[in-house]
């Protein structure tokens, strides 16, 4: 049958025309189109990857920002606590120092008072003994002549009085 016999002329022209078509498209047509299809696919893949990375980084940045804020809060609390503690310490110290100073004052006052008192006692005794002597001399001038032994006696009596005090 005619349909199943390839015609020589048609085979020849078909080959020539197809070869020309192929060469033209091979040189001028397909490479640019395939390049662009490949490149665009690449670009889209990279874009998706980039967006993913950016999102990851953003998440990470947010996380670290939160971390920093939390740290700052914690150190703020620490500092406040420290300050309160220090304040207490300073007040305490001041109080202690004041107390010490007062103690010292009291101490020296007490010493001074004791000394005063001793002196006063001594004065008093001297005066009392002189008064007693005066009195005794006045008494004994009239009654007694020898007075040395009598002064001694009176002093002894005064010592005894002091002791009992």
């Amino acid at each position: 049958m005619e349909l199943f016999k390839p015609d020589f002329g048609l085979v020849f022209w078909m080959f020539v025309a197809f070869a020309i078509l192929f060469l033209l498209l091979w040189k001028k047509g397909w490479p640019a189109i395939m390049d662009m299809i490949d490149k665009r696919a690449d670009l889209i893949d990279k874009g998706v990857e980039y967006a993913q990375q950016a999102k990851d980084q953003l998440d990470k940045a947010q996380e670290s920002a939160e971390q920093i804020i939390a740290d700052a809060r914690r150190s703020q609390a620490d500092i406040l606590r420290e300050a309160a503690h220090m304040k207490d310490q300073i007040v305490e110290q001041a109080r202690q120092e004041a107390r010490d100073a007062a103690q010292k004052e009291i101490e020296s006052a007490r010493v001074a008072i004791a000394q005063e008192r001793k002196e006063a006692e001594k004065n008093f005794r001297d005066q009392v003994s002189s008064f007693a002597l005066d009195i005794a001399s006045k008494v004994t001038r009239s009654q007694l002549l020898a007075d040395a032994a009598q002064t001694k006696l009176v002093n002894n009596l005064l010592d005894e009085i002091e002791k009992t005090n």
């Binding site: 085979v11 197809f18 091979w26």
Partner: protein, 393 residues
């Protein structure tokens, strides 16, 4: 809302179509009936059978087979749209017994004998070379010269080539000049098609070898797709049964065959000549190598025949449906009108399916070519992976 409008629109078209065909067909039939005894003969003559190819059907002899094969075949000349009495003459280029002859096909139309120099040419009316240009020898016998004529199919090849170039080159130059800017409209549509073939077929099958073979495979796809679609357009410059012609599919299959084997790897040839089978299957009697070598040639044969047969089949169905009208015409006007309506509905249905088939056949040819080429691109390590599979199972 929209679907109701659509429905009404389609209804209107159908009613209009049926009314028009009812009106036209009886008129044609009556016209024919007054002109000749047989309705079939004259209406067929005016509608389907061409008068310019040197043979006309005899009066009263309505032969659907001849009509079908004439429409499927090649011809020296192309029917003028809507007029089968006239044909556009095409150049005839032959290498006869005394050298090159170039003349118009109108010189040998209607069975005329044309004398060019010392040699006489005519289109054979019967015999081995029926419908082909032959050289008339001095003793009255005919012989076939080397025929390089620009026939209807050759011209259709040229049209297809030009259309494919128009489809591809503008997009290529767009991307060379515009970079990443995506093409829109027609170019964008075509790019989606190329991307579909290139990414999901060629790249998926050939992997890193894709860039090497893609230009050929994409060209084959576009050539077959465009010529399939052009074959569905019934008037000039369409209507040639190009991919339903065995010469065209043979050339394409042979190119695939040569690409497959010329670029085949060492491993591919080893698999053919010394396959990995028990020794007795290949040593004293080379059973497996013979089968493998046979397989090398069945692949292009399958490619040739399946595209040719599929496309030719589609054309035969549509023409047969048309001829049903003229077969029923002998049975009277009512039968003819009914047959016209039914035939038209089926023809439209078939043509729509043929649009789908045009794409599918182009895709299948490209897919098979890709697979044949990729089978010849296997390397040793890939084969070892294949070998491990049955072991693990």
């Amino acid at each position: 809302m929209r679907s109701i409008e659509m429905k009404r629109f389609i209804q209107n078209i159908l009613v209009g179509f049926i009314a028009v065909s009812m009106a036209i067909v009886p008129a044609v039939a009556q016209d024919a009936a007054t002109g000749a005894d047989s309705i079939g003969d004259s209406s067929v003559d005016s509608e389907v059978v061409d008068a310019g190819n040197g043979h006309e059907s005899e009066a009263g002899d309505f032969n659907p087979k001849d009509i079908i094969f004439e429409h499927l075949g090649d011809g020296y000349g192309w029917e003028v749209p809507f007029n089968h009495h006239k044909r556009m003459p095409l150049p005839i280029i032959v290498w006869g017994s005394d050298g090159l002859h170039i003349f118009s096909s109108s010189r040998v139309a209607h069975g005329d004998v044309y004398r060019d120099g010392n040699v006489e040419f005519m289109i054979a009316e019967d015999g081995d070379y029926k419908g082909k240009l032959v050289e008339v020898n001095s003793d009255g016998t005919v012989s076939r010269p080397w025929d390089f004529s620009i026939t209807k199919n050759v011209l259709a090849v040229f049209f297809t080539v030009i259309l494919v170039l128009l489809c591809v080159l503008p997009l290529g130059s767009w991307y060379r000049s515009k970079g990443y800017v995506a093409a829109r409209g027609f170019k964008g549509t075509l790019e989606a098609l190329y991307e579909f073939i290139y990414v999901s077929l060629i790249k998926a099958t050939l992997k890193e070898q894709a860039r090497r073979f893609a230009p050929y495979l994409l060209t084959v796809f576009m050539f077959i797709f465009v010529s399939n679609l052009m074959g569905l357009v019934v008037i000039f410059p369409g209507g040639a049964n190009l991919t339903g012609n065995i010469a065209v599919t043979l050339v394409l299959a042979l190119i695939t065959f040569f690409i497959t084997n010329l670029f085949g790897t060492k491993h591919y040839w080893k698999e053919i000549l010394w396959p990995d089978v028990p020794l007795w299957l290949k040593f004293p009697l080379p059973i497996m190598p013979v089968i493998e070598i046979f397989g090398m040639f069945t692949k292009p044969a399958a490619l040739t025949v399946r595209l040719f047969a599929n496309m030719m089949g589609g054309h035969i169905i549509v023409i047969s449906l048309t001829l049903i009208i003229f077969i029923f015409a002998k049975m009277g006007i009512a039968a003819m009108s009914g047959a016209t309506v039914v035939s038209m509905i089926f023809q439209i249905f078939m043509l729509l399916i043929d649009v789908l088939v045009s794409f599918i056949q182009a895709y299948v040819f490209t897919m098979l070519s890709t697979i044949f080429i990729s089978l010849a691109q296997e390397h040793e390590h890939e084969h070892e992976e294949h070998k491990e599979v049955p072991v693990t199972k």
